[in-house]
Symmetry: C2
Subunit: 420 residues, 2 copies
């Protein structure tokens, strides 16, 4: 067997009929597949049978599974890592075929390049959860962990590893709960678990390390720009949505643009950003959890508003039709009187676009103007998910004027530049 | 004033500092703007002050506002038009600045090129509604109108003009309610009202006429491919979603590809299609209106299932997290027991992806397998909106096995080819 000539960690060149690959050999659980970590950070699997020739370029200098040593190189910036769970903290359970949780060492070992970019001087695990199980108490814990770490002069930036499903909610939550952000916060993920040849974790972690050592003091979601596994985007925390069940470039910036494009060599800045400073980071952690997100569709029953009112809900994000309408013609499904009544009873109701992309405008159709008269707050191009988080945060502050605050651009949740 | 040298309908060449435009002059309500209909079908507005020179190429042969004459040219196919309302049937109300309904003549006059493509031999108006006000009774009327028209040997295809907001629901509904479709049905729209210089109606109508005279016997949504105003796509009725509040290319094919690309000259077929035939079209109009669409988000209250149960709902499409999970860790928001109980009580619950793009797979995570054990039906890559319509239609048939029918690929609502 040709592959017996090298060990995991060795730098090798593998020739197949169709292509030549160069990279570090990875441990393989299969006798038929060779896993190789390419320079791009991407791992590939090559079938043993396809291999024509293997050339050993350099023997491994590392032990097979290195213990994480939190060393400091004086020339590099110091980054803290917060591990919260999700696929990026998972590996395949060979018994069930599903994935199970793994540890910090495995995460760091998947992207040893990080050590060339920064010193990981701290690793924290405030909780271990898949993101679909997170809620306000978790965002609070995360914000408090960020505050403690970023107000420490010894820490220059943070990488948070996180599940993908509700990652955009966490990105929004941190964008509102944290005030005067002084250093970079990179939220990152993987769509494939880190022991898979196709894992996207390595590049995301490398680019997150680049981001966390940059001068961009923004909450950004850092992940694949496309499926090439070469470039990541730093996406604004309030303007990003998960748009695919499995693709590595699942997160898309919506009605806005990325902050930066990142690869293992450099960061290309794409817009004005809030810069690194000596400010003291502060928290503003008040949150009303009784907020709901309701989509309008044909035949949707407006009595749903009564349900949320009875359950004690204080606010609702209503995903309205088109550019800002609700059904009105059928008496049973006329939303206008129900919305008006709920608002009169003290509920705050805001409108977002169920098309996801684009901006609401109540002034195009008379139906939009009728809707506006109910007292609903049109949230222009704000994402529904961001709007839900912002509404919870705004309603947590009993003394605030909810409408005024919902329309104030607090963390770039409105893209004021775009009129499309 | 240079523009006084020509009349609406005249073919003119207009030179501005930056560009030269050639097209037919349109009626203008403004003394400062000249509207021109370009060869591409696109209408533009040019500010009077920018015009350097106007050259008259050909005087108009038409009267300013032609009455619709339903003439027949023996060489052309005969198309029926069904007008239902929406922006494509609207023009600006100069008093309010909003839009008001208009008539068939105005729609046809915006795209006189249609007469070169087909004979519009019939125009029907089963109802006039914005699409957000439509529901099952409207889809039923539309399906019945299609049946009557397409089972008439004198009609070769149908164009339905329709509001955009819930157009994709109608496209789905017709895909399920109509059996043995024998001729093309084009559903089309505009995002800007037809008296606006920027209206997208003309190209959409021209391409719909091309589609309705083609040999593709499918329900397709025909509309702009991009913002260029040169090409339309014929999009499969069950795989399309409105994705932007205002862009003319708002409709996107999701997890599938278009049936054809169309411009005013030709149709480029992009996939296998059901072809025109002498079959008798049949209807299968049974529908359970008590179906709901529920999105899961952080803190979403699973008691919402109780609400729909109490209201007598028979089925729910649940937009689950990621590739197929629901929150479970927090006892208050553990969806599993609630889903299980609702299913045991006779509710049919199906899972779709809230990411919109991609395919569900319950076998990746143990959370997915736990969810599958509740009896929920995983709808793979089916769009939530399509799933809602299909569920209503399936549950309308009391004798059908709901799970079996929901998983049967009836109108290409599953893309069996794609595994991405």
């Amino acid at each position: 067997m040709k592959t017996k000539t090298f060990q995991p960690g060795d730098l090798v060149k593998i020739h197949t009929k169709s292509k030549t690959w160069e990279g570090h050999a990875l441990e393989s659980h299969s006798s038929e597949i060779i896993f190789l970590k390419l320079k791009s950070g991407y791992n590939i699997g090559i079938r043993e049978g396809e291999i024509l020739d293997v050339k050993l370029i350099e023997k491994s200098k590392e032990t097979k599974k290195e213990k994480v040593e939190l060393k400091k190189d004086g020339k590099l910036r110091n980054v803290a890592m917060i591990i919260t769970g999700g696929t990026i903290s998972s590996r395949l359970d060979s018994k069930t075929g599903g994935v199970i949780s793994t540890d910090a060492e495995e995460i760091l070992n998947i992207a040893p390049e990080i050590k060339e970019i920064c010193n990981i001087t701290k690793i924290e695990k405030p909780f271990m959860k898949f993101s679909e199980d997170m809620s306000f108490s978790d965002w609070k814990k995360l914000a408090e962990t960020c505050e403690r770490l970023l107000n420490d002069d010894e820490i220059d930036g943070i990488i948070i590893t996180h599940g993908t499903d509700f990652l955009h909610y966490t990105a929004s939550a941190l964008s509102f709960l944290i005030k005067n952000l002084n250093k970079p916060i990179a939220l990152t993920y993987s769509q494939r678990s880190i022991d898979r040849a196709s894992t996207d974790a390595a590049l995301n972690l490398i680019c997150s390390a680049k981001y966390a050592t940059s001068d961009i003091a923004e909450v950004a979601l850092v992940g694949h720009k496309n499926t090439d596994d070469e470039i990541c985007l730093a996406m604004p925390g309030t303007k990003v949505r998960k748009m695919h069940t499995s693709r590595r470039d699942t997160f898309k910036v919506v009605s806005d643009g990325p902050i930066a494009e990142i690869n293992s060599d450099k960061i290309k800045i794409l817009k004005t950003f809030n810069a690194r400073s000596k400010n003291k980071l502060e928290l503003d952690i008040k949150f009303e959890e009784k907020v709901a997100l309701v989509q309008i569709y044909p035949g949707q029953n407006p009595a749903i508003l009564d349900f949320y009112e009875k359950e004690g809900y204080k606010g609702i994000i209503l995903e309205v039709a088109g550019i800002g309408q609700v059904p009105t013609q059928d008496a049973k499904f006329n939303w206008l009187p129900k919305i008006k009544k709920a608002i009169q009873n003290g509920m705050i109701i805001c409108a977002t676009a169920q098309t996801i992309y684009g901006r609401l405008n109540p002034n195009i159709y008379s139906a939009g103007r009728d809707l506006e008269k109910t007292g609903i707050i049109f949230l222009e191009d704000m994402l529904s998910e961001t709007a839900l988080i912002k509404l919870g945060w705004v309603l947590g502050h009993k003394k605030w004027d909810a409408k005024e605050k919902m329309l104030e651009n607090i963390s770039n949740e409105f893209n004021k530049k775009s009129l499309s």
